[in-house]
Amino acid sequence: MNALQFMLSHRSEVLAATREHLILVLISMAIASMIGVPLGMVIVGHPRLRVVALAIASVMQTIPSLALFGFLIPLPLIGGIGAHTAIVALVLYALLPILRNTYVGLTSVDPSILEAAEGMGMTEYQILFRVRLPLASSVIMAGIRTAAVITIGVATIAAAIGAGGLGTFIFRGVAMVSDAVILAGAIPAAILALLADFILGLVERRLRVV
């Protein structure tokens, strides 16, 4: 049986897994953005916190994803088996690109524009929200896009700790030594990643100034 036939005959299962996968990714991305963007804004003015935050986020990225899921299982509250543990791991992965791009975007605004803003009597708060943030928005969106593509890929491994999603097919396929079953998970995941990349790329271009 080839992959297409398998997907067609199991289409309701594939669709359900895709929906699960998408929900995992959306929740993780929402949380990661809600942490990453404000944290990126804070570290612009706090060099010591910046070093620590970027270091921690970078270290998270270096931990192999399967190991990170494993590490989280025994932890109280955030750990255990299931979707919530997977979300914690996915957030940790998504954080670095969002945090780094927010920081880079906010700090790469043309200094002469910032000085004009200051000279016009804008407060620091107004400069951040009315000048820096809008001018950094496309760079921040690029970070979110990178994070989304990573998260869609890594989320397939979440099935290993019982979080469901398209990874279920991949793990089952590996166990069954069936390419068709693996592809039933891998193809929709790849399509999701391409779609996310494309759509967020459009958003990014819309936000770009000049």
């Binding site: 002469s112 000085e115 016009m120 009597g121 804008m122 107004q126 100034v209």
Partner: protein
């Protein structure tokens, strides 16, 4: 004796106390209401620093800078800056805001009622020779250098400041546009009766627009003269500037 609107008392500015060469050394200067002061000097002469001391973008290392009789240190810096228009080269416009949003920023921050903001927008755009309706929704990138500079002046005037600071306002323009904007600015500044301090390295611009020219060299004020007096100055730096201008144009200014 009327009170100066801007006064420098024994002002010194240096970046660090270790370096021996201050950026500005002992400048004392009084600027009165309605004057148009040209700060003339070469790159690195300290003229831009002198300008930025007025709106607190730079803080004097020693001495006092007084604006409307009050030390800049004692001003609420946001209040001070909202009352001082600031024009820099064309890059200073906010690229993510339309012409109208750029121009109306200070009135909006000051919470003016919206009908007053609209009226002010029309007024200042007309005063710089741009059609208010034609340009309101345009972005800075869609404008020519000269148009951007006009918008920059309109933006600085929008909050109706008593003082206007201009840092090489016409520096980035082609010679024809520059001459046109200079002429217009001359008319405009006479009509507005504001106190203007502008920085330039162009002696012709300083003599054309300034009611008084302050010549700076290596952080020192080396001469202070009306345009009429300036051309007769014997100071070597002043002679250099005059000679360079004559050479460049082939005819005396």
């Amino acid at each position: 004796m009327r009170n100066p609107i801007i006064e420098f008392r024994q002002v010194e500015y240096q970046i660090s106390t270790i370096s021996s060469q201050p950026i500005l050394s002992v400048v004392s200067l009084q600027i009165h209401r309605g004057e148009t002061i040209a700060l003339l000097g070469r790159s690195g002469s300290g003229k831009t620093t002198l300008l930025k001391l007025i709106n607190g973008l730079r803080r004097a290392t020693s001495g006092h800078v007084l604006v409307q009789g009050r030390d800049v240190r004692d001003w609420d810096i946001i209040r001070l800056r909202r009352g001082v228009g600031y024009v820099i080269q064309e890059t200073g416009l906010f690229p993510h805001l339309t012409v109208r949003e750029n121009v109306c920023l200070v009135p909006q921050l000051e919470n003016w009622p919206s009908d007053r903001i609209s009226a002010r927008y029309v007024e200042v755009l007309q005063s710089v020779g741009l059609s208010p309706s034609l340009y309101s929704q345009r972005y800075p990138r869609e404008l020519s250098g000269g148009q951007r500079q006009r918008v920059g002046v309109a933006r600085a005037l929008a909050g109706d400041p008593e003082i206007l600071l201009m840092d090489e306002p016409f520096g980035a323009l082609d010679p024809v546009t520059r001459a046109q904007l200079q002429r217009e600015f001359l008319t405009l500044s006479r009509d507005l009766a504001k106190t203007v301090v502008f920085v330039t390295h162009d002696v012709r611009e300083a003599l054309l627009l300034g009611s008084r020219v302050i010549l700076l060299d290596s952080g020192r004020m080396v001469a202070e003269a009306t345009p009429q007096e300036f051309v007769r100055l014997t100071h070597p730096i002043a002679r250099e500037f005059l000679a360079a201008a004559e050479l460049a144009t082939g005819a005396p200014a």
